[in-house]
């Protein structure tokens, strides 16, 4: 199984960006199918179905925007214990589409439940009736355009027909490709861990490369495990691990109306029962889940619109985590910092500016700033060995690490972002055409 990943992800060298993928194979209880519903003008897959033959426990975290898409409204209203299907379309966000957009969700969920019920009858020993409320949706794309209900309805039969009960790396790749919008790379990650003595898989895919200022959730992220974990525990695990992964990345400070990260558990692997979030047996799973989420989150940043460099901003020794996060995001969201880095300019004055504007009281005499291993500012004054040529050389790296030490406490936060390039403007001034 290939587990080489980008330099950024492994942080090993300073060479050029090079994405390698982990090979996701089969995860018991999850089926995937993809089609083109012709939502784009090209024949790419744009509609992806995840089918949980025996249902899945699940938890989701949604956008904190005050305006949310119709599919998220739908998802929130379905109070079921197990989910049968997640269906994701691109090109249209189904946001600001009003009652019509919501009704489309109803109709599509209805048709999916009928078709899946038929499939259960044909394939299974113990067929069960699938209800429309067991179907949830992810939508991403342009806001405010009429939702392409017909195009999607027309493809449901094909999606269901294509379902196979054993998955391989190609179908995961197709799923990751099928949920992309302006992404240039599909995003997949996996980890294995033990619960008791049972080997557990955690697979994840994600999309997103703009509108990425996370507030709880960001973009689309779907995580699947064959462990058997309750809805309540899934929610707690997701919330806990989103904080320093999907919620630690920013591309442009914008937040989508459609952000959604979900965690599905098929329960196909038998293992000792987990009773609560502090259960020792959950420890490895917790760590592995964080790794999958962080891996996906970094892939999103690394594919940030127009990104030529990826930037890790670590703010250390603050009074509390919230202050560390404020400063880290103030730096990560500053267009002036991000353009300087695009220009490979060691303009640390802009880091100072961004620290200052974060609104957190700073003791300048204690402030230290490093670029990578190069110390620039030590206790509020420039390092006597500061060598601009050396720092300028460092700025040519693909992975830029900015370390800020506030020296006022013991709490850290690390944010991940990318530089701001002309390419970002190009992509975003011409998105819909």
């Amino acid at each position: 199984m290939g587990i080489n990943i980008t330099n950024f992800l492994s942080s090993k060298s300073k060479n050029k960006k090079m994405i390698e993928f982990q090979d996701l194979d089969h995860i018991d209880g999850v089926s995937i199918s993809t089609v083109s519903a012709n939502l784009y003008k090209d024949p790419r897959d744009d509609l992806v179905m995840f089918y949980f033959r025996d249902g899945a426990n699940f938890a989701s975290i949604y956008t904190q925007s005050k305006i949310i898409s119709e599919n998220i409204k739908w998802n929130i209203r379905q109070k079921v214990k197990k989910i049968s299907s997640l269906i994701v379309n691109t090109r249209n966000a189904n946001c600001f589409t009003g009652i019509q957009g919501y009704k489309s969700m109803e109709k599509i969920a209805q048709l999916i439940s009928e078709k899946l019920t038929e499939k259960q009858k044909e394939d299974e020993d113990h067929p069960k009736k699938i209800k429309s409320k067991e179907v949830i949706f992810g939508c991403t794309g342009t806001i405010g355009e009429v939702f392409p209900e017909e195009k999607i309805l027309n493809k449901i039969s094909e999606l269901v027909d294509k379902i196979k009960y054993t998955q391989n790396k190609y179908i995961w790749m197709k799923a990751a490709l099928g949920i992309m919008t302006t992404d240039t790379q599909p995003k997949m990650a996996m980890e294995e861990c033990l619960i008791g003595s049972s080997k557990i898989k955690i697979f994840g895919i994600a999309k997103g490369s703009g509108m990425i200022q996370p507030n709880m959730a960001t973009t689309l992220g779907y995580i699947f495990t064959d462990a058997d974990i309750s809805n309540d525990l899934l929610k707690k695990l997701l919330k806990k691990n989103i904080f320093n992964t999907f919620n630690a990345i920013t591309c442009d400070g914008d937040t989508s109306t459609n952000d959604m990260v979900s965690l599905f558990s098929t329960g196909k692997i038998k293992h000792p029962k987990i009773n609560n979030i502090n259960d020792e047996k959950l420890k490895e799973f917790d760590i592995a889940l964080n790794k999958v989420l962080l891996n996906l989150a970094k892939r999103i940043v690394s594919d940030g619109e127009g990104a030529s460099k990826i930037i890790t901003v670590k703010v250390c020794n603050c009074k509390n985590e919230n202050e560390a996060k404020k400063i880290a995001f103030s730096i990560s969201n500053s267009p002036l910092v991000k353009t300087a880095i695009a220009g490979e300019d060691p303009n640390w004055g802009r880091i100072i500016m961004a620290i200052g504007k974060a609104g957190v009281p700073i003791d300048i005499d204690k402030l230290s700033i490093d670029f990578g291993n190069l110390n620039i500012i030590h206790n509020g004054t420039m390092n006597i060995n500061y060598n601009e040529t050396e720092v300028a050389e460092y700025m040519k790296s693909h992975d830029i690490a900015i370390n800020v030490n506030i020296n006022k406490g013991s709490k850290d936060f690390t944010a991940y972002t990318m530089d701001l390039t002309k390419k970002y403007i190009e992509i975003n001034s011409d998105y819909r055409s």
Copy 2:
């Protein structure tokens, strides 16, 4: 006197950007001189002296950044009733320059006070001794570089020698040019008004085209009047009128360590005494001051780094002004909104996104959005007459007006910004070279 200004400033037509300047002439009690201290590699003026022969009452509002420049520290510490001189240099922000940067202020203020005292002896009937604490500083440029104390000290004699007691439009233009950094246009504005039956002038100059997210003050703005107004009243007037002018503009959401807006009153025109901020006699002055500040603020936005269009975002009928401001800035600071406008794309979905992420509770059914006079969204649904071709045509205008009606109260806020273009990236990724 030329009072034609840009289309944006007059909001009369949709034609291309065209800056015209008001002619500032003489304002009694203010002298200006400018030199090149060779702070840049070219021979442009980069050091500007304002000299108040008989002193001036004054008030300043400074950056809210938690890291402030050494000159602002100096200014804050000088507790005097009248100011004798304001000196402004570009190219170096004197920020993060430590004790050395502060000592430079001391030395330069000392030399200025000596030279001005000599000049007073030569020129005046009643010479007076000028103290170094009567000198304040504006600095703008790169953060963290050693302050060019020697270069500036060497030019003080020349600056003082050049002082003339009558000013004209050319010297105001030179002053406005001399304080520029990445600005492409000098920024000047003027108004006249009455206090009682006395004609009063208010002249202003400003600089700034990046790092412009105002928090109280932004960039450099210097306003001069020949009225006789106390320091306390100047402060109240400035604070009140900054709110919907300099604090209503944003270019990139960044805030400088050096922001400074000052109001100087020479008291050369005799008029009835003003006792408090609510004095009826102050009404015209108050309005005129707001006009000068707004005129300058709009000029800053209109010259925003890389701006090809200027955008007025009016958010109406909110529960309170703070909510209106939050939404207006959320739209104005959104890179996705600003790149869409650069691309002349009527992508109103991004306006929806930006409204949503502002965090203010919204009643979608009451929301209306207009681009210029074209209604897009009415009471939460798309206007049945919406014609994308027509709106796309409107997006070609140089001045874009976005009007958002929240319909939940009676409070408005208008923010001013520009589009986000490749040129912005170009300027900022290559600022120091």
